[in-house]
């Protein structure tokens, strides 16, 4: 999927530079993502190869379960996926390793596919559009904002960052650094200020300066911290009061290394601030981020973006097929 297809509300004439860049990236993309996911998928694939070499054996199913567990898919989702695989394998009389893996990837991709294709889009049609970025500590919120602003700027939007993490040491400086890399504006206040007040200012500034997309950075907080979750809900309300219907997107950033706790994070954040999508970061490591399957399945939250590194360019639209196939299969997915 191309970047300009990842958003709703871009002007139809795409800046020429962006189109060119995209083309280049598409070619480079599978290279890089596959290389990254390759590292990630390596052990898993090896696992599959050895277990599947001899065809479909008795304890094969249990071993597939293990492979899914290893990807942090979780016990419950794993059981469901394997049951589905058993059904489809017997219906379709699958006998070879490749057929079975293809089938498995298909099942996983389908689980991750949004019901409505528009659901995976990031809505930037508001004027200004407001994107609130939330998550537990250290998952990659601030970095994701830098990367996202970069993309939006390339696609002809004017992003404005709001530094509403007034808590963590040097969080504002960190976001400022990203703003200067992107070349966009940032609204900030002194450390320790009320995040809701910063956001209020930020939106007012976006209006007066004609910024197209306001992206709000928030302090990392564990979902178990009731006060901090209330604070976040308040930030959201302040946004909604200034712009009815905003925030148009509330993105929850989940670290791919996260285990089963990720589901709980998504559940509590969704309750507190109505999460509209997940950003899965750090997929360039060896962690597989399988917890997003449970998040998508049980909570219905679509996965929208993936982070594959620490550079400005290292953000990608989420593609279920690519994610599933790169996890389970050797070959590069055809086309897409």
């Amino acid at each position: 999927m191309d970047w300009h297809e990842a958003f709703k509300g871009l002007s139809s004439d795409l800046p020429a530079a962006a189109a060119e860049h995209e083309d280049e990236e598409r070619r480079g993309l599978f290279g890089r993502l596959r290389e990254n996911l390759g590292k990630a998928g390596g052990a898993l694939r090896e696992h599959f190869r050895t277990i599947l070499f001899d065809g479909i054996t008795d304890d094969l199913w249990e071993q597939i379960e293990e492979a899914l567990i290893f990807a942090d898919v979780g016990v419950e989702a794993t059981v469901r996926i394997v049951e589905q695989l058993e059904r489809e394998a017997s219906e379709q009389h699958l006998t070879s390793r490749d057929e079975l893996l293809g089938c498995l990837a298909g099942i996983v991709a389908r689980l991750l596919q949004p019901d409505d294709p528009d659901e995976r889009l990031i809505d930037v049609s508001g004027e200004p559009a407001v994107i609130l970025v939330v998550g537990v500590n250290g998952t990659g919120k601030t970095t994701t904002i830098g990367k996202l602003a970069f993309r939006l700027a390339e696609l002809g939007k004017t992003p404005l960052m709001v530094a509403a993490d007034t808590f963590r040491a040097a969080a504002v400086e960190q976001l400022s650094e990203w703003a200067s890399r992107v070349g966009c504006e940032i609204v900030r206040q002194a450390p320790g200020s009320d995040p809701a007040a910063v956001v209020y200012d930020g939106i007012a500034a976006a209006r007066s300066r004609g910024a197209g997309v306001v992206i709000v950075d928030t302090a990392g907080r564990l979902h178990t911290q009731v006060n901090l979750m209330n604070e976040l809900a308040k930030v959201r309300r302040v946004i909604g009061k200034q712009i009815p219907g905003a925030p148009h997107e509330t993105l929850l950033v989940i670290d791919a290394t996260t285990g089963q706790n990720g589901l709980r994070q998504a559940q509590v954040f969704a309750e507190a601030v109505a999460v509209t999508g997940v950003v899965l970061t750090k997929l360039d490591g060896s962690a597989k981020g399988g917890i997003v399957i449970a998040i998508r399945e049980e909570l219905g939250i679509p996965i929208k973006l993936i982070g594959v590194g620490e550079r400005l360019e290292d953000l990608r639209p989420f593609d279920p097929d690519e994610f599933a196939r790169a996890l389970f299969l050797d070959e590069t997915p055809a086309g897409s």
């Binding site: 590292k39 052990a43 293990e66 567990i69 290893f70 990807a71 942090d72 979780g74 016990v75 419950e76 537990v136 500590n137 250290g138 998952t139 990659g140 830098g146 808590f167 963590r168 040491a169 040097a170 969080a171 400086e173 960190q174 400022s176 650094e177 990203w178 890399r181 564990l222 979902h223 178990t224 911290q225 009731v226 670290d255 791919a256 290394t257 996260t258 285990g259 089963q260 706790n261 990720g262 709980r264 559940q267 309750e271 750090k282 360039d284 490591g285 060896s286 962690a287 597989k288 917890i291 620490e310």
Partner: protein, 444 residues
């Protein structure tokens, strides 16, 4: 979300108490449940397999104690083994006879290294040491500012020549700086992926240059199966001495602790439990074991448990709480349970990281008060017990008279009841909330 391990084991063994030795069939079934529980807690599946085989050997033929059910006996064994495994090894830091003692802090991105450096500095200060912080993360935007700000807060000198200097030089010069300004050098490094060859190589160079007395790997307690890969790689490349487990203030079960301990053989030295600089302590394997098992201090509870509320009853109660129609009848049932098990507050005190502890303190119940409360509830009509909202002024007077108490006592109880109901509702939360952990609320 699966039920707690002890509930599942209860299902395997039934309620029987002290029935001789654990049979092979019993143990096999129990091991399946334990395997699932550990997987749910994010323990790596290979580690789970090893661990379960080991526990199985010990459990086979084990004598079931008179006071315990077989399920509890198995939990006890599992718990002991978890503690033994996670607690082995020296959890203290190594100090050099020739200062400065050098501590290198490394780990994946966002795991909490920089925060840990500052916390460690404060921890050492309390011990009379003079730590110095060294900012060797030149990659992450504002990483240096972050460490400098934290150093100020801690009141420790900081060596931070800037982002244009090579991290190996920063580390080397920083240690020289620490020799003059203090006696411990704590080096903050950039987050790096274990699959990133270049950056791993940089870490090797730093290690060679400064020969740290301690290399600490910082691991996020929320990490899943991949923790073993990261830990194994860091160990292979730079030979870590120990682990710091962070973000334990959340509700992750923290199986990564067991995984990392098992694959590296290195002790977990510290646990970090918040964003404040004092949220840092030596690692406690016993707390970690009960956390991974998804229970409070399970052994103490097992010892305390004299009766078990039946599963069905617990499920019914939890359901009602969720629908917020906790009644005085339920309240009375709870009182009975609590009386059998010791005071409510002491049981809650056994549960690690229970939110709402303060509210519970207010609801603290002592024996005399319990008598009074029971009397008051007994004086209510069934209708009043089920719908306390109907209890108006004249009813209060009647209840007070009937129970030999004052109207003020009745008022207080009604208020406590409302508070408790509110709190329990919060705790019941969506599925799998804290409630399952409370005795009598469906837990062990």
């Amino acid at each position: 979300m699966f039920d707690s391990l002890s509930e599942r084991l209860q299902g395997v063994f039934g309620e029987l108490r002290g029935h001789g030795k654990l049979s092979e069939a019993d143990v096999d079934k129990a091991m399946r449940e334990i395997r699932l529980a550990l997987l749910e807690a994010d323990v790596n599946f290979k580690v789970v397999r090893q661990f379960v085989n080991h526990v199985k050997e010990r459990a086979l033929g084990a004598e079931v104690m008179e006071s315990l059910t077989p399920a509890q006996q198995v939990v006890k064994i599992v718990n002991e083994e978890l503690i033994a495994l996670m607690g082995s090894g020296d959890s203290r830091l190594a100090f050099s006879g020739r200062p400065p003692t050098v501590i290198l802090v490394a780990g994946l991105q966002g795991s909490g290294k920089t925060t840990t450096c500052a916390k460690l500095a404060r921890f050492l200060q309390k011990d009379g040491k003079r730590p110095v912080l060294i900012a060797a993360d030149v990659y992450r935007p504002a990483a240096i500012d972050q460490l400098v700000t934290l150093a100020e807060r801690v009141g420790a000198p900081v060596y931070a020549p800037g982002a244009h200097v090579d991290p190996v030089d920063i580390a080397t010069d920083g240690v020289a700086f620490a020799r003059e300004k203090g006696d411990v050098a704590i080096i903050d490094t950039a987050g790096r992926l274990h699959v990133d060859d270049e950056l791993m190589e940089e870490l090797v160079r730093i290690r060679k240059a400064v020969k740290p007395h301690n290399i600490l790997l910082v691991i996020d307690a929320m990490t899943g199966q991949d923790a073993v890969n990261a830990a194994e790689q860091f160990k292979q490349r730079v030979d870590i001495d120990g682990v710091v487990l962070t973000k334990l203030d959340g509700d992750a079960r923290g199986g990564a602790a067991l995984s990392v301990r098992a694959v590296t053989g290195k002790p977990i030295k510290f646990s970090s439990t918040g964003e404040k600089l004092d949220d840092f302590d030596a690692f406690h394997p016993d707390r970690m074991a009960s956390r991974i098992l998804g229970m409070g201090d399970v052994l103490t509870l097992i010892e305390k448990a004299q009766t078990d509320i039946s599963d069905k009853e617990a499920a019914r109660l939890e359901e009602r709480l969720r629908r917020a129609d906790f009644t005085f009848e339920d309240f009375l049932d709870q009182l009975k349970q609590v009386r059998k098990m010791g005071s409510l507050s002491s049981i809650v005190g056994l549960l690690p990281g229970v939110p709402g502890m303060k509210e519970l303190k207010n609801a603290q119940i002592d024996e005399r008060q319990m008598d009074r409360i029971e009397a008051i509830v007994f004086s209510m009509t069934p209708e009043e017990r089920r719908h306390p909202d109907v209890i108006d002024g004249s009813r209060r007077q009647r209840i007070a008279r009937g129970s030999g108490t004052q109207v003020a006592d009745v008022n207080r109880l009604l208020k406590q009841f409302r508070e408790m109901k509110k709190m329990l509702k919060q705790m019941a939360g969506p599925k799998g909330g804290l409630l399952g952990k409370l005795p009598g609320f469906g837990g062990p």
